[in-house]
Symmetry: C2
Subunit: 329 residues, 2 copies
Amino acid sequence: MTAARASEFELIARHFAPLAGGRRIDAHGLKDDAASMAARPGFDIVMTADAVVRGIHFLPTDPPDLVARKALRVNLSDLAAKGARPLCYLLCLALPKEIDEEWIAGFAQGLAADQLEFGIELAGGDTTSTPGDLMIAITALGEVPAGRMLRRGAGRIGDEVWVSGTIGDGALGLIAAQGDLGAAAAADIAALTDRYRLPRPRTGLGPCLVEFDVAAMDVSDGLVQDLGHMCRLAGCGAEIEASRIPLSAAAAAQVAREPALMARAVSGGDDYEILVAVAPAASTAMADAARRCGTPMTRIGRLVAGEGVMVRAADGGPLDVGRGGWMHF
Amino acid sequence: MTAARASEFELIARHFAPLAGGRRIDAHGLKDDAASMAARPGFDIVMTADAVVRGIHFLPTDPPDLVARKALRVNLSDLAAKGARPLCYLLCLALPKEIDEEWIAGFAQGLAADQLEFGIELAGGDTTSTPGDLMIAITALGEVPAGRMLRRGAGRIGDEVWVSGTIGDGALGLIAAQGDLGAAAAADIAALTDRYRLPRPRTGLGPCLVEFDVAAMDVSDGLVQDLGHMCRLAGCGAEIEASRIPLSAAAAAQVAREPALMARAVSGGDDYEILVAVAPAASTAMADAARRCGTPMTRIGRLVAGEGVMVRAADGGPLDVGRGGWMHF
């Protein structure tokens, strides 16, 4: 079913211009070649970009507003993990012929909802047709106090490893969305599926962390794999305890029922939590600050000499987590 | 022929990390979630994004270094037209399976060449596989003195219309590249094809224009169509004279041989010149400044009451330019 689609100019005017600028950003109703933003003295601009492709990162049947929000939120999660407050984003859309205007309207509604929720503005972008599949490429900009961007590679041996929120909901939510959590309670399936479909970037937490001397990154490819990246940059290893890894009630119920799912929880992707390495002397103050910012954090282990990430099971031995993370490529 | 392709991490480390940051941008060797850039007091950040798709914006047979440079330069042209000095860019790449590492290496070499030429740095991006066609989405950032970004919509009735460089090389170059300029001299075919394949964004000129109270935009969809956009935003029309439109020697030879090509020259795309509307009292100073910046500008007409763009032929009557511009969508 292919509905007639308006011209690029009409689509932009109808669906995207209402999202453009208005506060910090001067986006000229998307009628100009570019947008502008005043520099704020004492702050650095933080930049990140992530692209999603239909059939790789989302399903053709996913509702367009959720597709939009997920594409945006994976970028907001990167900004949050760097301690940055999000400011704006630019959107490149490649649309195959069968995408009709109703889909585009739903997509824009998803963006509008998230702009309100996260206090961001559309600053520009590009819309093109494609003979290939639907692709959404987003660049997001944020700001941090000058010189305070949190880095992945700042960890040191002896640091405690902390993580925000809960781990594994995204991975178990994917299994649920595929219909493979059959014995689970309906409420758990719904909660996990929702968490998989719609990431909750920790934009409230990130800016609270910049006062502390921590290493930080977002957990998107799986806790074990992402902690492995942090370790490689710091030239060390890590040991974490499976029993300390924070699980939601819904995830904990699945692991209690089927203990093998714990490995999926710690190696699957789509958590969008913030992983932190912090010196023991600073960790209590950091956790207190995180709580005041509305996000609980949990200590799950520490950075150690050596290399690799060891997840210690309740019996003290290593938990086999397989390949250790999800790679899209 | 499909060569084995390395993992995303290896590809980034090998081909893109060497392009990342190092001067103004702290890009952490592309090993972090984001890059940072110090705000420069007294300057605004200018942002633009453009995406290109194989089969729509370039041909599968185009060499990868030229594909990269064109994708980057269309963004630099937007920055230049806003008066911005280019700073950095973020790159999202969606790669179909048959793209091998040799192609990616050539693509990265094209970016490296242009980084040197334009003094810019890679600040981040994303690489993903796609079941669809090759897509390159680039966001470019630049800066202008605070409040001085040039706008499309700032024109007024009575303003003179000026354009940089020469018009029509891109459009005639496309015809040449398709082998349809058969009777042309080989040197002309080569010159026009090259101009079509590799835009020359006016990054030297743009920052010289911010001292003047002008409307400006880049000419990418065809002179007549783009001037039409400028007129609609200003609530007026324009009259330009065909005999004043600056043509390169190669383009002029084609128009002399086949006068109907003049309509293609003024309505075809891919010029990447800067179109300006400026009050008559300021135009001489502006043209002098442009010349000092190394780019000639030519007065081609003026903004008038009414609507639409009229191209006046040598006999005083209107030149029929057909649809008036090229739309990708």
